[in-house]
């Protein structure tokens, strides 16, 4: 029998292209201090620290958890690093939750970050190995063929990606921490922005951000009256190889298996009806309808209709990425935990201007690698 765990604090930085005022340590520290403040806790209340970030090659700091020990006040405390590519923020939250559920710790600090201004993630992802094809594509070039295939397979109209791009940036205007604030965003502006990888235009792609996100996860007995807990109803992780014969990269099996598992563990039978809203990892516009299907929130080939009908907008039947999502801020290592944390803020009724009224149950989702690593959790206002 495992213990109940709850998110009791969240902190994040104002995400930006370059936060030149602070070191990596200063960036991570700011988010951790804000999470403690939100949880009304002190550093000495924290039993252990779980750190997540994307590949060390991004900033060139090897094993950053060692360098960040002082900044996270983790001297003489257990500290663990998690790394599962772009899904790492989600996996890090799940690892932290598992330490609470196991009964080992009372309160765990989870911190994640990326400081993209200190390197170039696109080149770090596209090293030119001799005798291998020179791709130099970055993530967008890698994922676009999957998006094109989705569009072709279900004969999806061109404007679907643009709807997602506008919707997430309108949501971001309500989020003071979002990197991109484009007040006059509209479909025409997205369409006329430079074509990066057909059909993906510049404004259908995520930015490169400096940013950090931290959560405090607490055991049931340590939750205090003044904290608004987001109870963790279930967590799940799945992965599959990047390349194998018969793999469907448009609708990866690991993703749908992960979704089935996270719903089952939370006792959810009809996810689209029972869950109020979701923060899902959409770094490129077309991934919204693709993941809606992969997450069993829409029938296969029907996800784009949810987007087109406006169901995923803040006022829609099933709001998705109320905070503006990855399309509006992408500090890669933190992006998954931002999804998990923003889902928690919704059920804590602490999402400010982008609050979904009456949200009681929310999904947090992250993916990474070649769309092969998946992490998800369900959080609720009520105990499971």
């Amino acid at each position: 029998m495992s213990e109940l765990a709850a998110v009791v604090g969240m902190g994040q930085t104002k995400h930006s292209s370059k936060n030149g005022e602070v070191s990596i340590a200063g960036l991570v520290r700011e988010s951790a201090e804000k999470a403690l403040l939100d949880a009304e806790l002190e550093w000495e209340d924290i039993d252990a620290v779980i750190l997540g970030k994307a590949p060390d090659m991004f900033e060139g700091v090897m094993m950053p958890e060692l360098y960040l020990t002082d900044a996270l006040v983790a001297n003489n405390k257990p500290i663990l690093r998690v790394h599962t590519a772009g899904s790492v923020g989600g996996s890090t939250g799940i690892v932290a939750a598992s330490y609470i559920q196991s009964g080992m710790f009372e309160r765990v600090l989870v911190s994640t970050f990326e400081k993209q201004s200190e390197s170039n993630a696109m080149w770090a992802l596209s090293t030119t190995v001799p005798y291998a094809p020179l791709i130099n594509a970055g993530a967008g070039g890698y994922f676009t063929p999957y998006m094109r295939e989705y569009k072709r397979r279900f004969n999806v109209p061109e404007h679907i990606g643009r709807i997602v791009a506008v919707k997430d940036r309108l949501n971001a205007l309500k989020n003071p921490y979002a990197h991109l604030h484009i007040p006059d965003i509209n479909l025409e502006m997205v369409e006329k922005s430079p074509m990066l990888w057909d059909p993906l235009t510049f404004l259908e792609s995520c930015p490169s951000s400096d940013g950090a996100c931290s959560l405090v996860i607490s055991s049931e007995r340590s939750v205090t009256d003044n904290q608004l807990p987001a109870w963790i109803h279930s967590t799940s992780m799945r992965s599959e190889p990047t390349m194998y014969a018969g793999r469907d990269a448009v609708n990866p099996q690991a993703g749908s298996e992960c979704a089935k598992d996270v719903y089952k563990k939370a006792g959810i039978k009809d996810p689209i009806k029972e869950i109020d809203c979701a923060e899902i990892y959409v770094p490129f516009s077309w991934y919204e309808p693709m993941w809606l299907e992969n997450l069993l929130l829409a029938d296969i080939g029907q996800g784009w209709l949810m987007t087109e009908k406006g169901h995923t907008s803040l006022e829609g039947k099933f709001p998705v990425n109320m905070s503006g999502g990855v399309l509006s801020s992408n500090p890669i290592g933190a992006s998954g935990l931002l999804r998990f944390g923003e889902a928690a803020q919704q059920v804590r009724n602490k999402a400010g201007e982008y609050q979904v009224q009456g949200a009681k149950l929310a999904l947090g989702h992250a993916f990474g690698g070649g769309a092969q690593f998946f992490a998800m959790w369900i959080v609720g206002a009520n105990k499971p």
């Binding site: 005022e21 070191s23 002082d70 001799p130």
Partner: protein, 146 residues
């Protein structure tokens, strides 16, 4: 398969990393440009050189900078017989932990002496500065006995 059939190619992997040094390491580097070495006062009153952003004991944010001397004592050392291309001195030298006057922690740097037998614990050394200084740790070329 004969050797002739083995494909060979050069492979050089490089990334252009940059750093935002922040208010503490940034201050240390800026002062190096004036040939000055700065530490920071920890919660226990000890002066940490180079300065730490956060207290290693309590975790609090540190802010009180303290200038220390560019003269100090060798606390321990190791001899390098065959310097590598990237080492600061292209002749046999010592890596040493040096406690600068006014500091409570040791600072790792190179000591230039002609022979290993000159190296002794507690020997006094002084920084030799690269001119003009550029705000980089290599502004201190090495330390020399005085």
């Amino acid at each position: 398969m004969s050797d002739k059939e083995i494909l060979k190619a050069d492979f050089e992997l490089g990334f252009t990393y940059t750093r935002s040094t922040g208010p503490v390491i940034g201050h240390f580097l800026t002062e190096l440009q004036k040939c000055k070495i700065y530490g920071i006062k920890g919660s226990d009153g000890k002066v940490i050189v180079p300065p730490a952003e956060y207290d290693p004991v309590t975790g609090e944010t540190l802010k009180e900078f303290i200038e220390v001397s560019d003269i100090g004592k060798v606390k321990t050392w190791v001899w390098v017989n065959q310097p590598l291309e990237k080492h600061p001195i292209q002749a046999p030298f010592a890596w040493a932990l040096i406690q600068l006057e006014g500091a409570d922690t040791n600072f790792l740097h190179a000591v230039k002496v002609k022979k290993e037998k000159i190296m002794k614990n507690n020997m006094k050394v002084k920084a030799s500065w690269a001119l003009p200084p550029k705000g980089n740790i290599t502004d201190i070329k090495y330390f020399e006995p005085i």
